[in-house]
Subunit: 240 residues, 2 copies
């Protein structure tokens, strides 16, 4: 499994993904699930992936190839005039790859699928964030629902529901994303450290902060312990 | 959907279930999902149900019939010598009903299934709690994992993972179960009020507290608001 979350805030975007990939329970590896494409100051696009690794790797590889080749059959996401068209290119590529791989797997009565979060901004355009479904269609984060999640989303949703609004600061946004990840790490073994964290400030059109958080990261460990203690204290204080 | 949770604590058991049943999103009803069978002081058995209403109602109805008839083909759960045998009777009945109903539905390429939590004690025996799967097999709550959940279990699991141990008091156990339900109610529309709450104290062999909590219940509303505020305060205090 996987857990990726993206927040679309007035001040910018916060993106967080884990790195655990498993085939069954006894074959666990670490793979990056966050991919950034940028021309700093001009445009930035970050893609996070969940689902079958063969589908996500092939999709990202084809998007990269198209950036180098850029012909009408394989348009480059770095040349697309709007973020909406970026989402459409990613959606079409994902849907094509999913279909091809599933056709191969059908003989074994299996299917492969994946979903993605695509977030970015080009100079002069608005900052936008999309969730792309395996079929290639997508939904967009809005003021009412300023976050998107893929993978194992349930354990980490209550904290986001409670604290995230478009007015949330970038610092609080990072805190909310990390605590949401912390709840997921605790309850689902197939989501694992290290984590990739990225911040894209509004109108910067580039990644303004990028960090890999390792399992032994002291700040993350302290935050996780503080949150556990705060929850236990809050629990003790509640009256019924 | 449904959410039911049972805690097996040193001081006794806490059982909590919602009451929402839906066929699709536009056909929502209220049905009790907690059923108690008792000879006060001698034995008490409470069953909570999740899944297809036709399966759970038929299973509970057959268990009731068997209590009245009690022959070797249909043993009564109130006469079973141990809680393990109660779990086996419930498991067999559930599996039989699931198979019968699924056979009928197979023509429509559909299946029906359900799972149950069975908790209780008979005089002289230990207090025990089981989770019965649709196939009739079961697992038991232990010291290491002193709670069982059926239905929409993910949203409400983090709080239980953090605060519930066998040494948790009955009052704190009720609080933990209610807060776990509160998180689930917030995140999944198909889990709904009113709630049924029951406490069975160790060695009492009867229900020692039983309460239906309506949507307008002031105590529950205050607890839910206090918890939201406490979480927001804790969030504000965390440093990253």
């Amino acid at each position: 499994m996987t857990y990726c979350v993206g927040l679309l805030l007035d001040e910018g975007m916060v993106l967080l993904s884990d790195t655990r990939t498993n085939a069954g329970l006894d074959n666990i590896s670490t793979y990056r699930k966050m991919f950034t494409f940028e021309e700093p100051g001009e445009r930035v696009i970050t893609i996070m992936t969940a689902g079958s690794l063969s589908v996500t790797q092939t999709t990202v590889a084809r998007l990269r190839e198209a950036i180098e080749e850029d012909d009408s059959a394989h348009p480059s996401i770095l040349k697309a005039p709007t973020m909406l068209q970026v989402a459409e290119i990613v959606g079409k590529t994902l849907s094509d790859v999913t279909t091809e791989i599933s056709d191969k797997m059908e003989r074994m009565s299996q299917r492969a699928s994946a979903s993605m979060i695509v977030a970015g901004q080009r100079k002069g355009g608005a900052m936008r964030m999309f969730l792309i479904y395996p079929e290639g269609n997508f939904i967009e984060a809005t003021e009412d629902t300023p976050f998107l999640q893929i993978g194992e989303h349930k354990y980490g949703k209550p904290i986001l529901d409670r604290v995230v609004t478009p007015q949330t600061s970038l610092l609080d946004g990072q805190k909310a994303a990390l605590l949401s990840m912390d709840s997921t790490l605790r309850s689902n073994l197939s989501v694992g450290m290290p984590l990739d964290l990225e911040v894209i400030e509004t109108n910067a059109c580039r990644v303004t902060m990028k960090r890999r958080i390792e399992a032994e990261d002291d700040v993350f460990k302290a935050m996780s312990a503080d949150w556990s203690n705060a929850l236990r204290d809050a629990f003790t204080d509640i009256k019924i």
